[in-house]
Subunit: 205 residues, 2 copies
């Protein structure tokens, strides 16, 4: 059984990360979605254990201390983190695990798991992002402005990601993401074991 | 008109580079094949201007002096090089240009055109390579052994390539190559202009 690929999906708030990942899960059976832990308040329509595991600040800090998270970060005043066990179990079972996390966490993953694939989701321009955030209607003006300010900050780190996913047409974008993730498995630096094997065979002749 | 992607295809002699590229050209209309210049003898079935432009040593060295090649190298005692004009014209016309060259030339391309995509074609193991070289029946034992020795040397450089193309099933392999080339255009480091534009838009709000 070949291990799955750990794929980190970051991107601007409002760029459609969540919808893209739901699309991938619905359309292909090789993905598993990591559910993050957070201290932020539940939004209307969200369910415990689906979008997030919602915990208190004290519970979150206990998980950090006990080494139960593979990454964690703070974003707009709240903690977000990825529970370790589920991710490792799914990768071992051959599933490609999708982590929707922000840039601080993504960089921790890149550092700890250099084989991980980092994708950054963006709209085609800033105005489209503004329109989508306003259209969502779940947040007040102040929160939207915080998110846009954060997007400007996050844009500084885009080059740390391997691929850019421009979410213009949803269908095309889901297929692009799938192809990128599957083809990323063929990257030379993710196949060092194979390269060393054939190199040895050629030398030993 | 978006410029095409310069794609370098290297790989072990006998791994099937030529067949894969013919497959890509037959199946998709976005590719243009760069025809190399060489001083090696024409093989049975080859045509001037199709597999190569066959020239003398003197003609080749004149092209180098006149700056008409974007890369050149020596391999098994012969010169091989890529004429510049055709490649640039095709890229400007939006075609993805395929260059079948060996590792010395590939590294020159990587140095001069960092956006170029480098693919390495291999069989699934060394024995399959030996079998294919012997099955080709166009070369004597000594030349085959030279090629295998060269393959062992080339295997040292595989990590310089971005993707590994394991040519096991031909059809799958052609599709994989196509997907890899098309998706490579979405790599963050090939979209610096886009990244800088949206970053500026977000800051200027």
């Amino acid at each position: 059984m070949k291990k799955g690929l750990l794929t980190v999906v970051s991107g601007f708030s409002g760029a459609g990360k969540g919808t893209l990942m739901k699309g991938l899960l619905a359309r292909y059976d090789n993905y598993a979605l990591s559910v993050s832990m957070t201290t932020r308040a539940m939004r209307p329509g969200e369910t415990e254990g689906v979008e997030y595991f919602f915990v208190t600040k004290e519970e979150f800090e206990k998980s950090i201390e006990e080494g139960k998270l593979i990454e964690h970060a703070q974003y707009v005043g709240n903690y977000y983190g990825t529970p370790k066990d589920y991710v490792f179990e799914q990768l071992d079972a051959g599933k490609d695990v999708l982590l929707e996390i922000e840039i601080q966490g993504a960089l921790q993953i890149k550092e700890r798991f250099p084989q991980a694939l980092l994708l950054f989701v963006t709209t085609k321009d800033a105005q489209t992002l503004v329109n989508r955030l306003k259209g969502r209607g779940t947040e007040d003006e102040e929160t939207i402005n915080k998110r846009l300010k954060r997007a400007a900050e996050e844009s500084e780190g885009i080059e740390e990601y391997e691929y850019l996913i421009v979410n213009d047409d949803l269908d095309t974008c889901i297929e692009d993401m799938h192809d990128i993730i599957q083809k990323a498995k063929l990257k030379a630096d993710r196949n060092i074991e194979f390269i060393e094997k054939i190199r040895k065979e050629l030398k030993d002749r």
